[in-house]
């Protein structure tokens, strides 16, 4: 029997589940709009009930995603302001050296990958990619939703640019999730076939040893994990 540690709180797990579901809806309703010319896109649009309905779903999901992101960011700001956030997701100089060392390890130049704390550089990259991507899709999405309102404050040139940015960012998010995140969470030989941590909130001590040794060491310092 392995010993498990709690890695994610219920709030974090709920947020992940929400992002995941909304991402599926946004991709299913967004990509056919981008590739409207392709046969599969036509088929999907018809299957989902026509362009008007697809746009309705896309906007409903987009507004939900906006609300969720706003909550997440406000929560984060609140935690930092009240000093309750460990700032463990903030990138630092070590992430840079970790990345170089790990890539050298992948290339077989050094014998061991870098040792990571609570979040490794890949996870931070992915998190910040998501946050910045969210800012881009949300702001451009709102411009496309309310072009008249936004052009009261910005010139009309913004609207086609927002469309290009929204559509490209959406595609990038989709590809990142399909290729990179699915790899990390499923195909990666360390966790294959399925890294359940974000759903259960639990991580085994073995994985902590292997993937987050520095965090484990810190936790041990605070409380004697091996005993519990």
């Amino acid at each position: 029997m392995s010993t498990y540690l709690t890695r994610f709180t219920l709030r974090q797990r709920t947020e992940h589940a929400l992002v995941m579901s909304l991402f599926v809806v946004l991709s299913l309703t967004g990509l056919p709009q981008k590739y409207f010319d392709a046969a599969w896109a036509r088929w999907m649009i018809d299957a989902l009930g026509g362009i008007d309905r697809i746009r309705w779903f896309h906007r409903a999901a987009g507004l939900s995603f906006t609300a969720m992101t706003a909550f997440h960011l406000m929560y984060a700001v609140g935690s930092v302001a009240t000093g309750r956030s460990p700032l463990s997701i903030v990138p630092n100089r070590k992430d840079f050296t970790d990345a170089i060392q790990t890539l050298q390890y992948y290339l077989g130049r050094v014998d061991a990958p870098a040792q990571f704390d609570r979040f490794d550089y890949r996870q931070k990259f992915e998190y910040w990619g998501l946050v910045l991507g969210a800012v881009v899709v949300i702001s451009t999405g709102l411009i496309l939703y309310f072009p008249i309102l936004f052009t009261h404050f910005f010139p009309g040139e913004l609207v086609p640019a927002a469309k290009v940015a929204h559509s490209n960012e959406g595609l990038m998010a989709f590809l990142v999730v399909i290729l990179w995140h699915i790899y990390n969470a499923h195909l990666n030989p360390d966790v294959f076939p399925f890294d359940k941590t974000i759903f259960t909130g639990k991580i085994s001590l073995e994985r902590m040893h292997h993937e987050h040794p520095l965090e484990l060491a810190r936790l041990k310092h605070v409380q004697d994990i091996e005993e519990t």
Partner: protein, 421 residues
């Protein structure tokens, strides 16, 4: 049958014979009257030597414009006026319509049907009788006439709606009558029985139908707007003022005339969804770049999906009264563009109208902001995937290598254990 005809002729000869015998032989024979002719041809069974009918129904001829007007058989079949012997030879000269209808026949001679018969020996091409009939000709005002306004479509359709004749006569334009039947004009004519709806001859003329390549034709490119304007007077005036009309008037071979957008025979209502969407492609045949950039925008995507609720070309540019942007009359001229946007976007402002409905991410001069946004997003996409791709590939390779090495180690351990036993 042949026997009946022969019998009939013998009978005529016995009746006419004594009279002929009584006249001096050097005098010209008395021309046959209609009754004389009908004595044989009035028999429903009258046939030629090869079996083809030569019957003329007396009541049909009597009801025809010629019969009712007292025209004699020999007025058309002139060579029979001098015939001395009956039954007359089977081979007669064609009926001479020109002896009375000289203007119509002169017009016919300048037309495509006469030309086809003359130059290419295409005997499928229509003559007078093909359209008007022969012994049963009625005035075109008569609803039963082949050339009545509401029936002309059937008459022209006997050839132009008949695949076999189209093939045999090498009629390049194909089956236009079928197209016309489904058109707005065809439906008005056939379904609604509207006498004001145009039929074939309203655009093509009747006797002097000319090829569209003939500059004197009513359907010659440059003449088409005037032909359509005979009914669509208001639209015609707008068109001649527009950028397309002025170009056509100057002799442009490219600028569109009515049929370029509306087609010739398949004209449909302009307020139906299908037409609104298809005409976009028509504009795009010349304005290719504009169509491409339009397709890149929200408007273009929605119309491409088959919904006409959003703006297409004519919604912003107008249809018959199109002007270049620099012209103050243009709906997209700087002074008018906000009003044009407001047709759909009620709250549109001058700033909103700076939106480029033909924004081109590749065109730095026209859309610098769009250009740089697009470039940046492409570079970002490429950069992220170059990094992710390489990183994940290496990670996977190393991960598999470590796993395989581990398995090998374990297997080695087992193997040596077995050896030990």
């Amino acid at each position: 049958m042949i026997r009946a005809f022969t019998l009939c002729c013998v009978l005529i000869l016995t009746l006419v014979g004594p009279a002929a015998a009584g006249t001096p032989p050097q005098a010209a024979p008395k021309p046959p009257t209609n009754d004389d002719c009908l004595a044989c041809h009035g028999d429903a069974g009258a046939v030629r030597g090869d079996g083809r009918s030569v019957a003329v129904k007396p009541e049909v001829f009597g009801a025809s414009i010629h019969g009712a007007g007292g025209v004699a058989c020999i007025d058309c079949h002139a060579d029979l006026a001098k015939a001395a012997e009956f039954p007359h030879p089977e081979k007669l000269a064609p009926a001479q319509c020109a002896s009375c209808h000289d203007t119509a026949v002169a017009a016919y001679d300048t037309g495509v049907h006469a030309q086809a018969r003359r130059t290419s020996g295409n005997l499928t091409a229509a003559t007078c009788a093909d359209c008007h009939g022969s012994h049963d000709i009625k005035p075109s005002a008569d609803p039963d006439s082949r050339t009545h306004h509401l029936r002309l479509i059937e008459t022209c359709g006997r050839c132009h709606g008949n695949e076999e004749i189209i093939k045999r006569g090498k009629i390049a334009i194909g089956n236009v009558v079928d197209l016309f039947r489904d058109s707005i004009h065809g439906k008005a004519l056939i379904k609604s029985g509207l006498s004001v709806a145009p039929t074939c001859s309203d655009c093509h003329g009747n006797h002097d139908i000319r090829r569209k390549s003939d500059p004197t034709s009513r359907v010659f490119r440059k003449s088409i707007p005037d032909t359509c304007s005979k009914c669509h007077t208001g639209v015609g005036r707008l068109y001649w003022e527009s950028v397309h009309g002025t170009q056509v008037a100057k002799g442009s071979p490219l600028a569109p005339v009515c049929t370029s957008c509306h087609t010739a025979h398949d004209i449909r209502r302009s307020d139906v969804e299908g037409w609104k969407l298809e005409v976009i492609k028509e504009c795009g045949t010349c304005h290719e770049q504009s169509l491409n950039t339009y397709r890149d925008t929200f408007h273009g995507q929605v119309t491409a999906l088959g919904y006409s609720r959003v703006a297409s070309c004519a919604d912003c540019h107008g249809s018959h009264h199109i002007f270049p942007k620099a012209d103050a009359r243009s709906t997209v001229a700087p002074a008018n563009v906000v009003t044009t946007c407001k047709k759909c976007h009620f709250g549109a402002t001058a700033s909103f109208a700076k939106y480029d409905p033909h924004g081109d991410p590749e065109n730095h001069a026209r859309n610098p902001f769009l250009f740089y946004t697009s470039k940046f997003m492409k570079m970002l996409l490429f950069g992220v995937f170059a990094f992710f791709g390489i990183h994940t590939g290496l990670w996977f390779a190393r991960g598999m290598q470590v796993k395989t090495a581990g398995r090998m180690r374990r297997r080695k351990g087992q193997d040596s254990g077995e050896d030990g036993e």
